[in-house]
């Protein structure tokens, strides 16, 4: 057994810093790199891409990334684990094999985890009395069934560990929990038992800290953000994990950013609910047990994590089509910037009414004044400029399109000193609404396939 392994975070979401995973591979030693590409809405976007072209449906950024790093990771023996396979991890694998051929790399083993996509099984599940009703609101799935675009089960670390056991150097998954991507190499390398809840919880906490990339190493840090050095060269976080479950969060020497107990605390609190019940498919972690200590420059030790037995359900993330939105902005200048913007909003709403257009919601915010602070906003008189941002939402696409034609006219027919209408008429975007549900673990089985060239 290795004495320790270093697991690097290379990507916190699809669209994250493109150089981060390359730096993780080249600027120091690592054993594993995890890349998280999937947000809640991402699966539905990928499902649409796959409908148009059956060879798509995964995070396309992975291909140029592997084109860049594949020779390095093969030479150094770094293993890469990613959920960027989206709704088509097998096609993603094939595309990476093509990259390997281009670089004349042989004997590369890639593991694929799939079986999370249950879009085609919703009705057969219902026949078995598994209804996938909304776990937060209790609403029946039948109310939106016809509009469902994607449905994916969140698998945990287990199938990834299977792929690693079969010798995979790269593991591509569909909808896997972000935390599972980090936990898996610890389970595999240290041979932890699947009922060693404290250790599983520790690996899960490590995953939670790594899953948002630079947000644990000085990015988006409210503590003392001015003191964070060299964010232009931010080093993404690395978990140095030990067989007893303890781990140290750090980053490569010579990179920018900051790893301190304060930056790690902020990330621990990101998007959590009840801290005693952090539920994943692998365990229930207790965030109130976590012990943090600064143990060196850019080194924070995380220890004493406690966990409990996993639940018998997987979470299912579903997305359904729910109408359209469109947005537009106009900028108003001093004097009376806010009053002008408010008048423009009033005129626009009156015109929409005259046109007989109806929307489910119209919302106006004044950027520079109240879009973050709502009724707490202060000092309206002191504004140099303010941006009126107006959005509409509804089921009638024609009405949303018509709204888009009413913005530019305000420049010559509304309040004065206005600018900033760029990018043409706003166009309708689809609203993809989120539908979380639970499914018994016994109802779905992850597929693991490891192949090599």
């Amino acid at each position: 057994m290795k004495e320790k392994i270093r697991i690097a975070s290379g990507q916190g979401f699809w669209g994250d810093l493109q150089t981060a995973p390359i730096d993780q591979v080249r600027k120091g030693d690592i054993d594993y790199m995890m890349l998280d590409y999937l947000a809640e809405v991402t699966m539905s976007i990928l499902q649409k891409q796959k409908l148009k072209d059956p060879k798509l449906g995964y995070a396309k950024d992975l291909i140029p990334l592997f084109d860049e790093i594949l020779p390095d990771i093969v030479q150094k023996g770094i293993k890469v684990i990613t959920n960027g396979g989206g709704v088509n991890p097998l096609a993603c694998r094939d595309a990476i094999f093509e990259v390997a051929k281009k670089h004349q790399i042989k004997n590369l083993k890639i593991g694929v985890v799939f079986g999370d996509d249950i879009l085609g099984k919703i009705d057969s599940l219902a026949e078995k009395n598994i209804f996938l009703d909304n776990m937060e609101t209790g609403e029946k799935l039948s109310s939106v069934r016809i509009d469902v675009i994607s449905a994916n089960v969140y698998f945990g670390a287990k199938p990834i560990v299977e792929a690693l056991q079969q010798g995979a150097q790269i593991v591509i998954t569909g909808r896997t929990t972000d935390t599972g991507l980090t936990l898996a190499p610890m389970m595999y390398e240290f041979g932890w038992a699947w009922n060693d809840w404290n250790k599983i919880a520790s690996g899960t906490v490590a995953g939670h800290i790594l899953e948002c990339g630079g947000q644990a190493s000085g990015g988006n840090f409210t503590g003392d953000w001015k003191s964070v050095p060299d964010l232009a060269n931010i080093g993404f976080p690395i978990a140095e994990a030990f067989p007893d479950g303890k781990f140290i969060i750090t980053k490569h020497e010579g990179t920018g950013g900051l790893v301190s107990s304060a930056t790690v605390k902020e990330q621990l609190l990101y998007e959590i609910g009840n801290p005693r019940n952090y539920i994943t498919p692998d365990c229930v972690a207790d965030f109130t047990s976590i012990h943090l200590e600064d143990v060196g420059e850019n080194r924070v030790e995380v220890a004493q994590v406690k966990g409990r037995e996993a639940t018998d359900s997987y979470k299912v993330s579903m997305a359904y089509f729910d109408g359209y939105t469109a947005f537009s902005t106009l900028t108003y200048a001093w004097p009376d910037a806010l009053a002008k913007a408010q008048k423009a909003d009033e005129i626009l709403r009156a015109r929409l009414k005259i046109l007989g257009l109806e929307f489910d919601e119209i919302k106006t915010e004044f950027l520079g004044y109240n879009s973050c602070f709502g009724p707490l906003a202060k000092n309206a008189d002191a504004l140099n400029e303010v941006v009126m941002r107006i959005g509409v939402r509804g089921k009638d696409k024609a009405a949303i399109e018509r709204f888009g034609r009413e913005i530019a006219p305000l420049i010559l027919t509304g309040p004065p000193s206005v600018t900033g209408f760029a990018g043409g008429r706003p166009k309708p975007s689809d609203v993809i609404a989120y539908w979380p549900a639970l499914i018994p673990k016994s109802a779905v089985t992850p597929n693991v396939e490891v192949r090599s060239i």
């Binding site: 809640e40 809405v41 937060e136 988006n220 840090f221 409210t222 503590g223 003392d224 107990s261 304060a262 605390k265 902020e266 990330q267 621990l268 609190l269 990101y270 998007e271 959590i272 609910g273 009840n274 801290p275 005693r276 965030f287 109130t288 047990s289 976590i290 012990h291 943090l292 729910d322 939105t325 947005f327 919601e361 119209i362 919302k363 915010e365 950027l367 879009s371 973050c372 602070f373 709502g374 009724p375 707490l376 941002r389 959005g391 509409v392 939402r393 975007s429 689809d430 609203v431 993809i432 609404a433 989120y434 979380p436």
Partner: protein
Amino acid sequence: MKIQLLQIAHARSGDKGDTGNVGIIARKPEYYSLLKKYVTEERVKKHFEGICFGNVDRFELPNIGALNFLLHHVLGGGGTKSLKNDAQGKTLSSVMLRMEIEIEETL
């Protein structure tokens, strides 16, 4: 004395559907008791009037000197449905830290 939460805490916020979470962390270990004493569910609900339209839940993490708040119905429907500029609640942390509290203690 009257203080602003920003003086004694830092914070991070995020989203899950139409619920926002705001974690606040004591800048010094001794400030945690002030957070616990003064930053109650009621106080937070009042502060977020007109922004948060649902309940507020508070959870304690004494191990890291932090509190976590869940603010329900705060994101205009959440996700791509929301018409808010901050549909993901990223700046709820700033709104929280702007809160003023009257404390009996001195800093």
